[in-house]
Symmetry: C2
Subunit: 344 residues, 2 copies
Amino acid sequence: MSQDVSSEGDLRNTGMSLKHDREWDYELDRIVEAVEERGATKVGLQFPEGLKRRGPAVADDLRALTDDDVTYMLSGQPCYGACDLDTYLMRRTDVFVHFGHSPMKESDKIIYVPLFSNVDPFPMMEDALDELPEDDVGLVTTAQHMNRFDEMKEWLEDEGYNVHTRKGDDRLTHEGQVLGCNYASADIDADQVLYVGGGKFHPLGLAMEHPDKKVVIADPVNNVVTVADTEKFMKQRYGAVHRAMDAEKWGVIFCTKIGQGRWDMAEEIVNDNDDTYLITMDEVTPDRLRNFDMDAFVNTGCPRITTDDGPQFHKPMLTPGEYRIAVGDEPLDSLSFDTFHGTW
Amino acid sequence: MSQDVSSEGDLRNTGMSLKHDREWDYELDRIVEAVEERGATKVGLQFPEGLKRRGPAVADDLRALTDDDVTYMLSGQPCYGACDLDTYLMRRTDVFVHFGHSPMKESDKIIYVPLFSNVDPFPMMEDALDELPEDDVGLVTTAQHMNRFDEMKEWLEDEGYNVHTRKGDDRLTHEGQVLGCNYASADIDADQVLYVGGGKFHPLGLAMEHPDKKVVIADPVNNVVTVADTEKFMKQRYGAVHRAMDAEKWGVIFCTKIGQGRWDMAEEIVNDNDDTYLITMDEVTPDRLRNFDMDAFVNTGCPRITTDDGPQFHKPMLTPGEYRIAVGDEPLDSLSFDTFHGTW
């Protein structure tokens, strides 16, 4: 397979450069069918942040295809994953469409429209081969590249690899799929894993969760191949743990989003430590925590908020495991990546 | 009554300077009684933004007064009024305490603790007399000064005034009370109204809602007397209306907060105009709207977000009445203040 792009930032032939011309498949027929079948008069549409601006055009198309008495409502709630379902809008509409994520749990009411990327993954996969010297390789990707997963697997097999894949646990819909908070699909019998997808968000979590494996990133969106490096990440996390060790008052965050609540975990921390205070909220943001007079926070909600947005909070923000280290319940070297299992 | 402070910004003898020593009455006895009576094991505590940092100490006191098996949960949701009830936490707790606002609607589950200010209103009221030359005067104040409303009224009567007060509509709990979105208590038969309370937030709305009346502000928190001036405010609103007149795509915001939903109003706008798109959300923030590709917004939720935070949004944000002007349904001079009536 020929390729003429390899430098980081070159967006020719990538998802980024195509972004403004390409047509996503919003599966309007499937939505219209559901609206008609159920005689719906209220329809909710939820898009992830990066696709919210497509919402009005999708609503226009649906209006043209359905009766005049159908009202379309766009969710204005922030949305970063299938765990971020707008339950308010879902409960108050006859049909609720969630775009861009695979189902975390099925429901009669909800239509999940996956929105697959049309970027070609193979040029970057070919570049990645140099970093994958062994015979056995694991293969994982994200929801938006799932439509080509079988092709990717075959391609690697044609290159002579023994390709290991698995479905992971019930939080995941597809074989080989990873989420920002779940890498169970990489629990495979190989010392090297190829991650195909955009950004370093997922592969860094993967490398943290599987520190014994080499994680190679074939990024067809930014046209670059790299190897996940957890050192900087680990330093940041140890820094946060150390800064939290002197904390006298801890805020323990219980996230009320349907896919992010770990109540037992939050309750256990609060029951064991009198210096903790349970704080409930949906969006966990620096602004919302600034008004609480706490020395440190433990976030039982989305671990990516803790690790990726952590430095933006005015006080140290730890995962539940990191909290155990900071209060002396666990040794420093027990530090690991916080993952989510199960659905809602 | 003697007074030695009168310049703006001098915080001696005011609520601001007292803030760090004064003890609020959190009515712990009433809360403990409810917890015991209902055998509650989960208790939710919701404070307005400015008092959130008091939450942990209040939780500590309650923990000491109740059984070990009671879990206290602090709401981390933004809270600016009784309309901002954290319904998620309310539904999942046995007793739910809302501090700092008077009830918009009573419920068995909810305990409202008003948190009255202990600042002395009379020095500023005395200063305000120069601005109140007529015999008849209306008197209004906010929830945190309601405990001294009768005293204020008597004081004015002793000064020789014919004092007019009324309860307003069912959104208001007390005689003479105003909310940021409701000034029905100032619908009285007097051409001048004395507002006693902190800030210009409420009196400006009052002056807009009652343009025929002179609104005098006796502010015992910032120690200043002023007369509400709506000119700057009106200019800002007309500016927003003009900028929105060319809009081709309108986002119509339906706020999902329990006390802020005006569904019929939102639906009517959307049904009448094909260039509108219904967007649902709880917190209406500039960040959340930036991802929508709209030319202007109409906010059917809290009017104070529209008018006070309006300039922070990337596109013009109008009240429903202002929208009618911008699209040509109503004349320019119909511009008025957007108020809320009824409860949830």
